[in-house]
């Protein structure tokens, strides 16, 4: 692998990420799957980096799940999106930041469709006015929240208490990065580093001390694929894709996985249990799975936030091996205690995977 060659491609795909004043929209599923990731994003960007990140309780889903499951017409989906943009405009912002890769892809696609078909754009503006009484606007800059953490990867490194380094051996942790398909595969120019060798997560991992693994099935989809998962009969197909990725990364002995997409984080974490049940195979060290993190969780960990405050107890594959390697302290007894020590319930024990 010729690193210089990748650097050349990365330099071809840089995007303008504004310095401040962001209008933030959340993901539908992340808040339940990785409940503290978005909170960590807001905590880091607002309180540690001092940025103006605005959010409103009036924003909704982007409609992406329904769109990709073919259950709503495109026009409806576009009107929902127009409403989100209109809210941004109403509150005086022009930099639109979304937390979800599905949304990001759909926003990119919608903006492109409006650019290509102005008559469609006019129709949506009319729909928006009639249905919500809001003024149509488009963002000046559309970014994914991983773009923002990428932009601030060095300031975060400067504030970090830990490095992605194995404390015992002194060697960098070996990290698999996985980019959500809709981050840049549809519009390579919209993603940091393009579509074939995306840099957005690599940049973070390099800045925070880890080492990136480039394995043969790196570009492969995590397998989520909406209809492939939501319809039970298709789940074996979704699972097969995840399985393929794990088989491909296995020889590289990764310490951890980082992703920038809600679906990818979820499926790469949870399917490890199903694979362990079906194939009696785990991919981490001695019966463990490979811990999977969102980029905000990794940022939070290196900055020294408590792993349980970052919601890591909700992961199927326990984060402990990574915490131990880095030397991040944690209280095992507090793992399933919520705010004020309240018991949040413990998952059922399984013996096929740790």
């Amino acid at each position: 692998m010729i690193y210089e060659g990748k650097k050349k491609i990365w330099s071809d795909y840089q995007k303008d990420i504004p310095d401040d004043h962001y209008f933030y929209v959340r993901s539908c599923i992340r808040q339940t799957f990785f409940p503290a990731s978005e909170a960590a994003f807001l905590e880091i960007t607002r309180n540690r980096l001092g940025k103006d990140v605005f959010e409103t309780e009036h924003h909704t889903t982007c409609g992406g799940i329904a769109y990709h499951c073919d259950t709503i017409p495109q026009e409806t989906s576009m009107t929902i999106i127009a409403r989100q943009f209109a809210l941004m405009h109403k509150y005086g912002y022009e930099n639109f930041v979304c937390s979800c890769v599905t949304s990001f892809g759909l926003y990119c696609e919608t903006l492109e469709a409006w650019r290509e078909f102005p008559e469609l754009k006019e129709k949506i503006a009319e729909n928006l006015l009639k249905s919500c009484g809001l003024e149509f606007a488009v963002p000046k800059v559309l970014i994914h929240s991983s773009d923002l953490i990428y932009k601030y990867r060095n300031p975060i490194a400067a504030l970090a208490k830990f490095k992605l380094v194995n404390k015992k051996t002194g060697k960098p942790l070996r990290v698999v990065e996985h980019i959500g398909c809709h981050y840049s595969k549809m519009f390579p120019s919209k993603g940091v580093g393009g579509a074939e060798y995306p840099y957005v997560l690599i940049g973070m991992i390099e800045a925070w001390g880890g080492e990136i693994i480039d394995y043969p099935e790196r570009r492969h989809c995590c397998g989520f694929g909406f209809r492939q998962y939501f319809v039970q009969a298709n789940r074996g197909y979704s699972l097969a894709n995840t399985n393929k990725k794990f088989e491909s990364m296995e020889p590289y002995n990764p310490d951890m996985i980082i992703t920038n997409c809600p679906g990818c984080s979820y499926f790469m974490d949870k399917w490890q249990y199903v694979i362990a049940e079906m194939n009696h195979k785990t991919y981490g060290e001695d019966g463990h799975g490979i811990p999977v993190f969102t980029y905000e969780e990794v940022a939070g960990l290196v900055m020294g936030y408590d792993p349980w405050d970052l919601g890591l107890q909700t992961h199927l594959v326990g984060p402990e091996p990574v915490l131990d390697k880095i030397g991040i302290p944690y209280d095992s007894d507090a793992k399933y205690k919520g705010v004020n020590g309240k018991n949040i319930g413990k998952p059922e024990e399984v013996d096929c995977i740790k």
Partner: protein, 341 residues
Amino acid sequence: MNNNILIVGGGPAGMEAAGMLQRLGYNTMLVERSSKLGGHLAAWDRLFPKGLQAKETLDRLTAGINGVKYFLDTDINSINILDDSFNVILSNGITILAKAVLIATGFDLFKAEKKEEYGYGIYDRVITNADLEAYYKTGKSDTIQNPKSIGFVHCVGSRDEKVGNLSCSKVCCATAVKQACEIKQRFPEAQVYSFYMDLRMFGRYYEDLYLEAQKKYGIRFIRGRVSEVSEKEDKSLLVKAEDTLSSKPIKVSVDLLVLMAGIRPAEAGKRVGRMLHLSNEEDGFFSTKDTIRDLQMSKIPGLFFAGTCTGPKTIPETLNDAKSAAMEIDEYIKQNFPDRK
């Protein structure tokens, strides 16, 4: 009165035309921007279909330009179209007043790194047709170390709207088959795959070359375009394609992958074209006066074309084109300047 002819480009087309025009009695001058004559031919080892040494052809071309004044490492700074001639200023300070100008600016090989999914410049063992030719010529390569399996990818940068080139580069199919046979000569035990979309073996002896590749060398031709390449831990490459004849996706590991970079109009030629406001077709190559006859003529009187600046050509086609251009120039001068001598 002068009888100067200026030729822009010192590849096979420029050299062949220069030699002929010189023999026809013109004061022929040739400008080459690089430091040697011969263009891509000078970098090639052997030529399809019969495996002739490229050097033999180049030596004959060099012998043919005896008496031609040529300038190496020289660019065109400006060209002005006068009433019945061209005023050309070269980067070495020389000004030439020419009765006719022949554009023979040739082609650039497609930059294979633009097909990012193939990993040229990123994966150690992905090389281009030109890299392989350099290896055949010198016998030296850090990359080629007794490969057990080798893949050839046709149409890299050709017939590909994604990279902005819809057209076929014409010579890569035969080159790939030639190179595949040659690699088998060097590594007889290797398994060689050739990924093609259509195998365009149009020329005389080409079909024999194809048959020989199959029968004698056992090259496995797979009808399908490579979709992506990734590097494995041992630096071998995982290649994915569809075998469209069995309608099934396939994967295969290779120790070496050769990308058949296609033919694109030369950047330096485009620059000269802009000076003369020459138009080009959608494929990027210069427009000729018409598309059946007059293929060596531009729309500007006294300005002619030869070789691949008007589209992909094999070496023999290029040489024939250059000869035709020389004849057209001769005819043009005789008609327009009857008292030239």
